[in-house]
């Protein structure tokens, strides 16, 4: 038997027991009653005392009962528990899944809450190092929460209060679940002794206790031994319909027209008819009834595929706005609940007004580049000679930013206004990029074809007769490489973005390649639309909000779906990076004297929308079955019995008192 809170009982006893005794020793204030003679009364009192050999005790039986009752209550206050566990103390790591699928409401209130509840039951069952404990053994536990990242909530400890607080502090997120990082971190912590590991050896393997619905992406990457991990499966239902893909685009031909594509997935065994609603700035623009087919089981591979249906909307809208696609409950079926996971029932997109870029080309004369840029869908292309450019008012340009992209062709200005630059030739000076030497005869060896700048661009045949050997800072992003030097690189400095091409375009065969025009198109588009003022506003859960081109050290405030008023300061380079996009929804970033920037964070994850709870998960060939029975308390709290006994004693005392005073 152990005591959870013995000191509370000791303090309570120190106060209450003397108080009770004092009350008994206090002289009773008796009512005065005049009688003819006290003769017979005194004899009766004497008889009463004489005839009861244990009269003193009998007289004070109420006191004895009260003392006994008080003792029971004090014992209950001390929190006695009967531990049914045996053996030496162990170490446990509780891994609690808080990914999007754990927000399913098939278990009230949510799966995450059920997992936390089970984790608390587990913690309650542990043996803690307590006063008056009959055993020296105690278990140590660590709490971790994971989605796509692992978060240590509490290092190894046997303090149940601290563990319960750590479990309680786990907040839901809409990220996808990956366990590998959590397992690595848990093992690393298990190697080092915990806070109270005075007699538990670090070599002793910690047992991993996983509370999850089993929908974890990276199980194949994790190797666990057969008895290292215990899995508690949380979840009951597979009933879910979600939006797994959504995109809103302006048509290239008609910038006022918006095409919205959404994919709905049904993970249930029955087809579902539901309404899809499209709103822009909270105004309903379209509602469409859609029947999503049931999930299919592939008989060959024995895998199931969700039933999918694509929904397209096309509408005319020329303003900026917030577009929302939402699944609605079928109003024709009263009481029908669409699904168990609400966070994938809506997706958002930020619409930017149709805008074409204005580009400034600074060149001493480069027909190839000028004609390539002219072929791009830019609103305005100005061409200035280097002398004209140097004569411009740079401070006004920094503030007003009249150009979305400035293309520098073999020009090294002394000063650079804040803007997005595409630089051909020698890189500018003050951006931490140095040029060590000039190289000759470079061929393209590697490039990132998936980068937006190199989309559809084939650089296989690119050859440079001369180019600069660029030594890049560590934070630079290399996009393409010659055999000896980076060919294309992106550098962010002083609130400006530089896409550096370390060669003269006329010293290469690139103008003769179709990829050059595509590159110019992509580069201006990317610099002007995505990294410039029109930065990417449509994000996925966990993807950071990045805003660049701000004043350095400026204070901004971020409001999200589950928080508001978080203050964040921009870096010295004038960028803000906020990684707390753990929930799907709309995020607002406000910087003083600037319009509010809105970001849409979407789940859009087919695996997280699949909420089917897996009873068996397979780690790199090692199947682990979920525990059949739910956790029960291995520690039986004894206080309810003690309180019940005290209640019985109170009744007994009442009965005795009534028997004594009854006439």
């Amino acid at each position: 038997m152990e005591w959870l809170t013995p000191m509370i009982a000791v303090y309570a006893a120190a106060v209450s027991v003397p108080l009770l005794l004092l009350l008994y020793f206090l002289k009773l204030k008796r009512r005065e009653q005049i009688v003819s003679s006290t003769l017979l009364w005194k004899r009766a009192v004497q008889d009463l005392q004489v005839n009861a050999p244990f009269q003193r005790i009998r007289h004070n039986i109420l006191l004895l009962l009260q003392l006994l009752m008080l003792l029971l209550i004090l014992l209950a206050l001390a929190g006695p528990i009967l531990s049914l566990l045996a053996g030496p103390g162990r170490r446990y790591v509780l891994l609690i899944d808080r990914s999007a699928s754990m927000n399913a409401t098939d278990i009230e209130p949510t799966r995450l809450d059920a997992a936390k509840e089970q984790a608390k039951v587990f913690v309650e069952s542990l043996r803690s190092k307590a006063f008056f404990s009959l055993r020296g053994d105690c278990d140590q536990t660590m709490v971790m929460a994971f989605e796509n990242h692992a978060k240590v909530m509490c290092n190894f400890t046997s303090d149940k209060r601290q563990l319960n607080m750590a479990i309680e502090a786990i907040t839901p997120s809409d990220g996808d679940s990956s366990l590998a990082e959590a397992v690595v971190v848990a093992r690393a912590f298990a190697q080092s002794p915990g806070l109270e590991a005075d007699f538990l050896s670090a070599e002793e393997p910690a047992q991993l206790v996983l509370f999850s619905d089993g929908q974890i992406h990276d199980l194949e990457q994790i190797v666990v031994s057969s008895d290292e991990l215990v899995f508690h499966c949380i979840g009951e239902s597979r009933n879910n319909v979600g939006i797994t893909a959504m995109q809103a685009r302006r048509s290239n031909e008609k910038p006022n027209e918006i095409n919205v594509f959404a994919t709905l997935a049904n993970y249930d065994a029955e087809g579902i008819t539901c309404d899809v609603q499209l709103t822009i700035n909270s105004n309903v623009r379209a509602v469409r009834s859609v029947t999503v087919p049931p999930q299919k089981t592939d008989s060959n591979s024995d895998t199931t595929q969700p039933g999918k249906v694509a929904v397209n909307f096309s509408l005319s809208y020329a303003e900026a706005g917030i577009l929302e696609v939402r699944l609605l409950q079928d109003s024709r079926r009263a009481g029908f609940q669409l699904d168990s996971l609400p966070c994938d029932d809506a997706a958002w997109a930020i619409l930017s007004p149709p805008k074409k870029l204005s580009v400034l080309l600074v060149t001493a004369g480069n027909v190839v580049l000028e004609s390539a840029l002219q072929s791009c869908p830019v609103a305005r292309l100005e061409v200035h000679s280097p002398a004209e450019f140097d004569a411009m008012d740079f401070s006004a340009m920094s503030l007003e930013q009249p150009y979305d992209v400035i293309v520098l062709d073999n020009h090294l200005p002394t000063q650079l206004p804040k803007c997005r630059y595409l630089v051909f030739g020698r890189p500018p000076n003050d951006i931490d990029v140095s040029v060590s030497q000039q190289l000759e005869n470079q061929v393209m060896v590697d490039w990132r074809p998936k980068h937006p700048i190199l989309e559809y661009v084939n650089l296989t045949n690119l050859f440079a007769a001369k180019c600069y050997k660029m030594v890049l800072p560590r934070d630079a992003e290399v996009i393409a490489e010659f055999n000896e030097t980076p060919a294309l690189a992106m550098v962010r400095r002083n609130g400006s973005v530089f896409l550096l091409a370390g060669f003269d375009i006329l010293q290469t065969n690139w103008p003769f390649e179709p990829s050059f025009v595509l590159f110019c198109y992509n580069a201006t588009n990317f610099l002007g639309m995505q990294v410039g003022r029109r930065q990417e506003h449509n994000l996925e859960v966990g993807q950071p909000i990045v805003v660049e081109g701000l004043e350095p050290e400026i204070l901004a405030q971020i409001d999200g779906p589950d928080f508001s008023g978080i203050q964040i300061k921009s870096s010295s380079s004038g960028s803000i990076r906020f990684a707390g996009t753990s929930r799907a929804g709309m995020y607002n970033l406000s910087v003083s004297s600037q319009p509010i920037r809105v970001f849409a964070v979407n789940l859009l994850d087919t695996q997280e929308s699949n909420i089917y709870p897996l009873r068996e998960i397979v780690f790199a060939g090692q199947p682990v079955k979920a525990q059949e029975s739910s956790l029960s308390r291995a520690n039986v709290p004894l206080w309810p019995f003690l309180v019940g006994l005290a209640l019985i004693l109170a009744c007994l005392e009442w009965l005795i008192y009534n028997l004594k005073v009854r006439i």
Partner: protein, 299 residues
């Protein structure tokens, strides 16, 4: 009865007095009185009630010779008559503070009973003495005789207050020293004396007097209705007893009370006295007309 004074009606109902007229005090011993009364005495004397014959001897009064027997037997016999004498009725009533308690009070009951017994005695030409005692004799109305004293008795009863301590032995010593003649002595009290009743009663029980001990207790004393934690204060000596009323305590109280009464009863029976227990809540009328006749105090 109307001439017995308005004051007596404060104590006794006129109808009750009418019924008392037919009663008389009886003594189990036929006792010698001082004056010729309406009572048979052991002594042969002049009266109408024949007792016996005896042979004539010289010097006897010839008026008592039974001439009818002489006619038949030719021998002289003298007729003997029982002499009728008066009876002393001594009522000793408790007038200590304890008598004021009870609902109705024991004081009223005792005064009513005293009045009734005094009335019966006076209308039958008995000698009546009423003594109130507390810590000794408080006051005494001695040697009343005849209806003419009814008014006096009533006034006396109504003006005497019950208060102060009681010392029964002391009072009995004074009564025993002061009494003369013989007759019936009726003691009215609750007999709850801390120094005991036995030595006092022993003084009163003697050859000359027929003793009746009437113990008057209130209903509250016979079955108390107390609850809770109490400090009982003795009305006479302010002695305190702290009790917590419980069923056990009440049981012991009642057992003690019964034992006390039985002890008094046995004490009286062993000494030829008669013990009567009266509840002050009961009616004096029924006690006098029924019970006292049954025990032959009245006839």
């Amino acid at each position: 009865m109307t001439n017995s004074g308005k004051r007596l009606t404060d104590l006794l109902d006129p109808n009750f007095m009418n019924r008392l007229d037919s009663l008389d005090v009886m003594s189990r011993k036929i006792l010698q009185g001082k004056l010729q009364g309406e009572r048979r005495s052991k002594r042969r004397g002049q009266s109408v009630e024949f007792a016996d014959h005896r042979p004539y001897v010289a010097g006897d009064d010839l008026r008592f010779v039974d001439w009818n027997i002489y006619g038949r037997l030719e021998r002289l016999f003298l007729k003997l008559f029982l002499e009728e004498q008066d009876l002393t009725v001594h009522i000793v009533a408790d007038a200590s503070g304890s008598m004021t308690l009870g609902e109705p009070s024991k004081e009223l009951f005792i005064k009513k009973l005293t009045a009734a017994l005094g009335y019966v005695s006076l209308v039958n030409n008995n000698r009546v003495t009423i003594s109130f005692f507390g810590d000794g004799i408080k006051c005494q109305l001695a040697n009343m005789r005849g209806r003419s004293c009814l008014h006096k008795m009533a006034e006396y009863l109504l003006t005497t207050d019950c208060e102060g301590l009681s010392h029964f032995d002391n009072a009995c010593r004074q009564i025993a020293a002061g009494r003369i003649g013989s007759g019936v002595m009726i003691v009215l009290s609750d007999f709850l004396f801390k120094d005991g009743y036995d030595s006092g009663l022993r003084r009163l029980i003697g050859r000359q007097y027929d003793l009746y001990a009437i113990q008057v207790l209130s209903a509250q004393e016979l079955s108390p209705r107390f609850t809770g934690d109490l400090k009982l204060l003795d009305i006479e000596d302010a002695d305190a007893a702290e009790i917590t009323v419980s069923s056990a305590l009440l049981k012991y109280y009642k057992r003690n009370l019964t034992a006390y009464c039985n002890e008094l009863k046995d004490f009286c029976a062993q000494r030829g006295a008669v013990y009567v227990l009266a509840n002050s809540a009961d009616s004096v009328e029924s006690l006098v007309l029924n019970y006292l006749r049954r025990i032959r105090l009245l006839r």
